[in-house]
Amino acid sequence: MSRIDKHRNILDFALSSLLRRKRKNIALVIMYTSLIFILASVIFFTEAIKREACILLENSPEMIVQKTMAGRHDLIPDNYIRSIESIRGVQSVRGRLWGYYYEPTRRANYTLTVPEHFSYGTGYIAIGKGVSRTLEAGKGDLVPFRAYNGSYVSLEVADVMTAESEIISSDLVLLSEPDFREISGAPGGFFTDLGVRVRNAKELPVIADKIRRVLPDTRPILKNEIVKTYETIFDWRGGIVMVILMSAVFAFVILAWDKATGLSSEEKREIGILKGIGWETSDVLWLKFWEGAVVSLTSFFLGVILAYVHVFLASFILFEPVLKGWSVLYPEFRLVPFIDPFQIMAIFFLTVLPYTAATIVPSWRAATIDPDSVMRL
């Protein structure tokens, strides 16, 4: 029991010491908490988006075949369908039609898609919630689309997709094939790309190879590549995420450096007195440890808890302007809280440990002085 009491005593005094410089230490905690808050928010958000995307996109088409010309995406002719159908192992090939529609008045981009079965027929569209918000249009409203040749095609909103599906449907405009061709000008017999279904999923890479050989200007994209795209999204190797991480590390180093560049003369005097009244070197170091631990533990818990609330209960609201960028249409979705305990542990080791160490290390020298020096203070 005396060990616990010893540390309770030392911790009590550590708190006294911190409270003596109240303003400085409160400012420190606020700064530190903010740093951890930003870091944890970014980590929570990117991890959650990644996981949700990968889970959802596990259901994406097994293989998409694109045609390229001079490195650019080009429309694919229907005779390619027949070539691919004849490859062994291919179950079916479907020409897909999709593209973008830019609306100048609201400067928003929508994704036009012709689904395999569009039950509403020509003259109607089904729109995502984000489109509905941007157009301020609901069921029954007429929406004009400017076609490739300058004419206008008016389509009636037959349905608005759910809010829960915004993460995948927010900017979608589903329509029939004739309407799509009328708006986009894509000639009959040509498609945006092809969706290929195979009998045995294990043969996908082999079939992809065959397709590339038979049709050299095509680019097959496999489902696992789609999922991989989102697994590596927001990777630390990527631009701003790296910048944020580096800034956070840099800021921590500055904080720790400020602590590590020696003690004030008053702190040194106090350590001298403690040694003079009977504290051992190790006791002084424990004191410094607890001083550092109080600040960093408080900041860590506060920062992480606030980050969780921020990302999952407040929809990452503080970073919205960053993610929104120039887009007019921004999906409103609540992320599913996929959190990785290892990442939280990593934050802990990145933040609590260095700070606590930075509080102890500069005190080392002062802590080992001869108690005799207190007589001459």
């Binding site: 309770r8 005593n9 009590d12 006294s16 409270l19 949700e52 995307a53 889970i55 959802l56 996109l57 259901n59 994406s60 998409i64 694109q66 390229t68 490195g71 650019r72 995406h73 981009n109 994704t111 689904p115 395999e116 759910t162 829960e164 599906s165 915004e166 995948i168 449907s169 979608l172 790309d193 680019r219 994209i221 590549e225 789609i226 991989k228 795209t229 989102y230 927001f234 190797r237 990527g238 631009g239 701003i240 533990l297 408080t298 818990f301 992480v304 808890i305 969780y308 999952f312 993610l323 960028g325 120039w326 887009s327 007019v328 921004y330 999906p331 599913v336 809280p337 996929f338 959190i339």
Partner: protein
């Protein structure tokens, strides 16, 4: 007898720890309750043959990451600032990088 500072602190940290543990509980409960919506969305991905989530709608290249072609500046240089911040946030999809290597 008045309450010691250390006891106040230890109590606060315990509360914080509980809240912290509660995060995980909350997360797992929310995940469970979101499961039906997730399943619905998965179904929609399948029927509509969706290949990308709707995150960055500002430009074509940013909306369909996995479908993007080689030509756009976004792929050639991850920090393409005309598509800020999405260009700065995302790297080219790995299969594209592989594609470049294969050629």
């Amino acid at each position: 007898m008045s309450i010691r500072k250390v006891d106040v602190f230890l109590l606060s940290i315990s509360v914080a720890l509980c809240l912290f543990a509660f995060i995980f509980v909350h997360a797992s409960l929310t995940k469970k309750s979101e499961l039906p919506a997730l399943r619905e969305n998965s179904k929609m991905v399948r029927t509509l043959e969706i290949t990308d989530i709707c995150l960055f709608t500002e430009a074509r290249y940013t909306r369909h990451l996995s479908m993007a072609d080689l030509h756009t500046p976004f792929q050639d240089h991850p920090m393409s600032l005309e598509h800020f911040p999405s260009g700065a946030l995302i790297t080219p999809p790995p299969h594209l990088r592989q594609y470049v290597q294969d050629r």
